[in-house]
């Protein structure tokens, strides 16, 4: 077991967290390939997946450099086990159907939009540059998700039911988005990171705007997950996802498996 502790190399953990969110959500989007609701959306899914995996590549390359342990971005993506991942539970949840996928994308792209916007002011030049680049992409991801939330909810009863179901089952992962670890707080105080809890008010405002326009609502009682990504805790879904995503690298280590 190689669980990163909060006090060890907080910048590495922070950047890995940013990269893992993009990587795992990008993989989830790639799962739609050849199964999209129609051809246009299949193509949209592959574009969204590419953007997110591109962001993950930049972030994990930087994380590997920060760690300075000789690991590459590939090693971080393909050779870590679940307990070493720092992605949010929201990103690793299964796609289920288009309604759940869209609800999750609205929730998470809104979060990424706010996080990258704030990170553009980071005193860490590398992080600020990656954030500025990624923000351009996340801006249209968020727009895509917002438009689809409204389109589904204002369309048929079935569409409304499915996107509302997405919010119903995913809302319990909201508190984790704003959980701020000690290491993150210290980095934020130094102007390097963005404290996750500082994003909550703006996030709720955007979600409220879109969900009101769509006519969907957050579930009244949602509870919350009592485990945290910061300690290496994840849902069982991440393990299944990694089985597929890491198969090539692990099955053919001598051929060095997959490279970016």
């Amino acid at each position: 077991m190689n669980i990163y502790r909060d006090e060890s190399n907080p910048l590495f953990q922070y950047v890995v967290g940013l990269g893992d969110d993009a990587l795992i959500l990008g993989h989830r989007w790639s799962e739609w390939l050849s199964k999209g609701p129609n051809l246009e959306l299949d193509i949209a899914a592959s574009n969204l997946a590419l953007d997110l995996i591109g962001q993950a590549n930049l972030l994990l390359e930087y994380a590997a450099e920060v760690e300075g342990a000789g690991r590459s971005a590939d090693d971080l993506a393909y050779l870590r086990d679940t307990q070493d991942f720092r992605c949010h539970w929201l990103c690793e949840q299964p796609n289920e159907d288009w309604g759940v996928t869209i609800a999750r994308m609205l929730m998470f792209s809104t979060y990424q939009y706010l996080r990258y916007s704030a990170l553009m002011q980071s005193t860490d030049r590398q992080l600020a540059e990656i954030a500025a680049k990624a923000l351009k992409e996340v801006t249209y991801h968020r727009r895509f998700a917002a438009e689809w939330t409204v389109r589904l909810a204002q369309g048929t009863d079935e569409g409304h039911r499915r996107v509302q179901n997405g919010f119903n089952i995913l809302w319990r992962f909201v508190p984790e988005l704003f959980e701020t670890s000690g290491g993150e707080r210290t980095l934020a105080n130094d102007g390097i990171a963005v404290a996750s809890d500082s994003l909550e008010a703006d996030w709720r405002e955007t979600m409220d705007e879109v969900m009101t326009k769509a006519g969907v609502s957050a579930p009244e009682t949602s509870g919350r997950v009592m485990a945290s990504r910061h300690n290496g805790h994840h849902s069982e879904h991440l393990g299944h996802l990694l089985c597929e995503m890491q198969f090539l690298q692990r099955a053919y280590p001598k051929a060095s498996g997959a490279t970016w």
Partner: protein
Amino acid sequence: MMAATNTRPESQPSSDKAAEIWAVLAGVLDPEVPAISVVDLGIVRGVMVSETGAVKLQVTPTYTGCPATALIHEIIKAAVISAGYFEVEIEQVLSPPWTTDWISQEGREKLRAYGIAPPVGEAAVGKALLFGVPPQVSCPKCGSNKTEQVSEFGSTACKAMYKCLSCAEPFEYFKCI
């Protein structure tokens, strides 16, 4: 209208050799949109040549996940080596992030002639809006403004799919970013 084009760096090559390399790169076509060069596209951000002839190129990606990035680096390198500069290094730069505003005026005309509608207006307008309105794009085949967006995403990250309501042709639009 295309005020941002002055942020493209090639107007002041640092030396005759650098100018020669810019000219070589002006002939290297984007593999995914082989109508325009990497210079027209605005992704070459700097050319430095040392006294010994070692070349350093600064190149910026269009999209973070653009699958053509590695290939573009290879063909750029090959072109510069073919021009007699054997020591070539490529540095990927992220800042300032690439924008379609950097596509040259000639590049826009080449795109249109190739059948791809060039980006409309400047990237800064309305990009952060939560609910977007697809831009008014004119048909590259017949020039009609009566067109509609079919899909915001297309065959490559940089393009959307449109169709013309006048001549009924489907076409691609190079999106603003």
